[in-house]
């Protein structure tokens, strides 16, 4: 009987530790320690075997003490197994933030940069965007294409951490995830330098540089997506951080000075990669979204007629129309409202849709939803909270793209692409594949739909109206001979009195091929429409 009980407790101890190690390996430390404590008590009971009555008291005490120590040593071993094997990776790569905001990561990651032939980052045609070379036993990393710095990010584990692809694909680039388990163990035993895997992007470096240069001295972003696949051809962003300066092997005064400059520049905020982390008011480009919702819900068709005599009073506030091409015309169709970007009409459309329907459509169109991507993307929003839309004026403002709407340039491009692809929002792709140094493919992207926002008929109507905007509407300077281009412009006033200029659009011959979003900050000295057109045409001509 006694033996049976002890066996049960032994099994219970094994069960608790086994569960904590292998099944509940994501347990918090406190819970794991509670399991371990339970296992310890079970072990104490399990090792309480009967000692013959003839045994002297002292020996009995020693035997019991031995069992106690043995149980504790088993518990210590279980903890070591957890730290060093089961949760080894999480522990090794764990980062933390001090109360003063400073972050901490394993200092060995920096040492690793000296012993790992870090993988390269390449564009879709094999152009090298980042590579590591060895000189005098020291690995140097080099980022030759300035326009792609916002994508690659920087890699400076010793001093400044890492960002962009360098951070999100760290495990592949550092070789940790590239070799198979056996090979990794052998390499570890022999202390060989690891060889990292190469990351192949969907980016076209030439197009990227073209877009980057086209932006001139303006801050902002240009995103170009292939409509069919969701692949990112251009993800240009200005300003950017020079990773070559931040790659530090020994202490570098140059890097430190550079870091201080960019860290303290509140205007440029160079660390914010505009294309994926910049949140902008979409302005009139959002009118395509309002129109789409209204059509999709059957509230309107492109030919529905609205009254616009130059102003409208909503809840006591007078909204003045500034965009009418013809001051004598007072009846406008939805199509004309999009073509000429009429705020008074779109305010009415917004009120037709109403707060509830807007809020329902948000997630379907990617607002307040996490966009899966290969570098971090901030979440777009329709409003800070649902309660903002309780006011009629807020709904009307939302109708023509003001209010509290915030969107990333990437999301804007995805929306443009959605209208051109029958309402299907593709999952955006930035990394095409990851290959080990022996050519094995470790990771491969596949195209898939992220959202089906609206019915395909609705999207076709919106795309048609966008073509009208270019061909006979407000943005006729966006035309290009030989191609069908659709688009919508937008402007958004900032708090400091300057204006952001936006453009979303798509291009194709028989069928739309590329979608674009252009965002230029603070009274840019170039036209967003013309810049967008040039990039779209260049993409078609490649």
């Amino acid at each position: 009987m006694n033996n049976v009980i002890r066996s049960i407790f032994l099994l219970a101890a094994i069960g608790l530790i086994g569960f904590g190690l292998f099944i509940g390996d994501d347990l918090s430390d406190a819970r794991w320690l509670a399991l371990l404590g339970g296992a310890f008590l079970c072990l104490l009971i399990a090792t309480r075997f009967e000692i013959p009555a003839s045994t002297p008291t002292f020996n009995r005490g020693l035997i019991r003490t031995t069992m106690l120590l043995a149980s504790i040593f088993i518990v210590l071993s279980a903890q070591l197994i957890r730290i060093q094997v089961i949760r080894q990776r999480q522990m090794y790569y764990r980062t933390g933030t001090a109360p003063d905001g400073e972050t901490i990561s394993n200092p060995r990651l920096y040492r690793q940069q000296l012993t790992v032939q870090r993988g390269s980052i390449l564009d879709r045609n094999g152009v090298v965007l980042a590579e590591t070379t060895k000189e005098d036993d020291v690995y140097y990393r080099n980022w030759p294409v300035a326009s792609t710095w916002p994508i690659t990010g920087y890699y400076s584990p010793n001093a400044y951490g890492m960002t962009g692809i360098e951070a999100t694909f760290e495990e592949y680039l550092s070789g940790e995830a590239s070799t198979n388990a056996i090979e990794q163990t052998v390499n570890e035993l022999l202390n060989r330098d690891l060889v990292g895997a190469d990351v192949h992007l969907t980016i076209d470096a030439d197009m990227q540089t073209l877009a980057y240069n086209a932006m001139g001295n303006n801050r902002g972003a240009i995103v170009l997506l292939e409509i069919e696949t969701g692949e990112t051809l251009v993800l240009a962003s200005k300003p950017t951080v020079n990773p070559n300066t931040l790659y530090v092997i020994d202490d570098s005064a140059e890097a430190e000075a550079y870091w201080d400059t960019i860290a303290n520049d509140e205007v440029s905020k160079s660390f914010v990669t505009r294309a994926t982390m910049g949140l902008y008011t979409p302005g009139s480009t959002f009118k395509t979204v309002s129109a789409a919702i209204a059509i999709n819900e059957g509230y309107a068709t492109p030919e529905s007629v609205y009254e616009d005599n130059g102003e409208i009073t909503i809840d006591g506030r007078v909204l003045v129309e500034q965009n009418r091409p013809n001051e004598t015309q007072t009846k406008w169709t939805l199509r004309e409202a999009i073509m000429w970007s009429l705020n008074v009409v779109m305010a009415q459309v917004g009120l037709q849709i109403g707060a509830d329907t807007y809020w329902d459509y948000g997630p379907k169109l990617g607002y307040g939803a996490e966009i899966p991507y290969d570098v971090p993307v901030y979440e777009s929003q329709l409003a800070n909270s649902r309660s903002f839309l309780d006011s009629l004026n807020a709904v009307a403002d939302t109708g023509f793209g003001q209010g509290e709407i915030q969107m990333t340039p990437l999301h804007l491009a995805m929306v443009a692409s959605m209208w051109a692809k029958g309402g299907e929002m593709m999952k955006p792709i930035l990394v095409r594949e990851v290959t080990a140094d022996d050519g094995t493919v470790l990771h491969k992207a596949s195209s898939s739909a992220f959202k089906q926002g609206v019915k395909s008929g609705t999207a076709d109507e919106v795309a048609g109206m966008m073509v009208d905007v270019i061909e006979s509407g407000s943005a006729q300077h966006g035309q290009a001979a030989g191609y069908t281009i659709g688009g919508k412009t937008g402007t958004a006033e900032l708090g400091d009195g300057t204006t952001n200029s936006l453009f979303i659009g798509f291009i194709g011959e028989s069928k739309p091929k590329y979608a674009i979003a252009v965002v230029l900050e603070s009274d840019p000295d170039i036209s967003a429409v013309a810049t967008g057109r040039d990039i779209l045409v260049a993409a078609m001509q490649r």
Binding site: L33, L69, N191
Partner: protein, 438 residues
Amino acid sequence: MNRYRPALRLTEFNLLLITAAMTFVGSLTIFLVDKGTVEWTWRDISVGLAAAAAMLLVNITFSLRGFRGDQVLFPITATLAMLGMIMIQRLSPDLIAIGSVEFSLSSRHLLYLAVGLIGMWLVVMLSGPLKVAEWLPQYKYLWLIGTLGLQALAMVIGTEVGGARLWIQVGPIQVQPSEISKITLVIFLAAYLDEKRELLQETWQVGRLKLPPIPYLIPMGIMWGASLLLLVALNDLGPALLFFGIFVIMLYMATGNRLYVAIFGISFIIACWLAWTYFSRIEIRVNNWLDPFWDPYGYGYQPVQSDYALAAGGLFGTGLGQGHPAFISQVQTDYIFSAFGEELGLLGALALIALYFSWVLRSFIIAMRAQEGFVQLVVGGLAASLGLQTIIIIGGVTRVIPLTGITLPFISYGGSSLVTNLAVVGLILYFSSRPRRV
């Protein structure tokens, strides 16, 4: 009887050959890794050779002097001490390079090791002629006064090192009093408990209640409480925890009464609760225990770095000299186990734990074989105290329990710890040569 008739200690010799080989390979490795070549000179391996030779010399002189004590304990001790020696040699240049220490630890540690080995040898050889087994229990109250006096002295003239640990400066030498009072406490308890053993095994009848014989426990309780209070006042919680454990285990060994364990278990929980409520530094330790990332550059810095080091080790470790344990501050004392975890991996760390367990087990066997009650209790108590010390520090470093600073026996850098622990081994070895039970 010829007192010096030689007796071959072949088992010990053979076991030491393994240790010697490990020492040689280990010290060669750290020199080669440092230089990054496979060429070596005699200078590089002189330390390893000297250490291996010293151990074999101990064995040979034991044989020549006809010492008939246990043959397994010293090889286990030597393996642990050599592992510590190798790790300190390996850490020293790194610690100097990052400015963590101002002087080379390696030569000092070698000196401590030599002093410790000679001390151990002298204890083994002189304990018999000096009739240690007779006067140790006789002067038990001297050990009691010594235990308390050392702690009190540390409080008055001690200097603070690293925030908590207290040392006494004697000329050029720094002594860590808790390392010595650990031994005097065990000796006092062994003598007292042996003398009162029968009385303590009885129960004390109060009406219908059966209680432990409280009158006999009072003097022990008072001294124990006083020494604990002193340690807590000194903010030296590791030894405090150790003293507590020694007290309970020895009481249990002497009486076999589970009631003591239960009473002290409960009082321990209450003490923990009180400490947690009233001492802010306890709260810091508990936070560090559950998640050191709450303050990764402040209080949590050491445990965070230790976690990183252990994770870096993985299953096989980075290899001796290939890791970066010097990122952990004070790695040479409290956190030396993490250095082994990083460079020798899980397998090395488990092997180290197994070595400590065998050391305790072997000492327990010696205790069981002893004829005299005092010897039983002293050897059992000393073995248990080193076992507990190991658990307290390894448990703290691996975050099974909150960390309380104490040295890892035979391995941590530090003269007091190494010399006294080797003297403990000397004492146990001597007692193992006394008449045994058949």
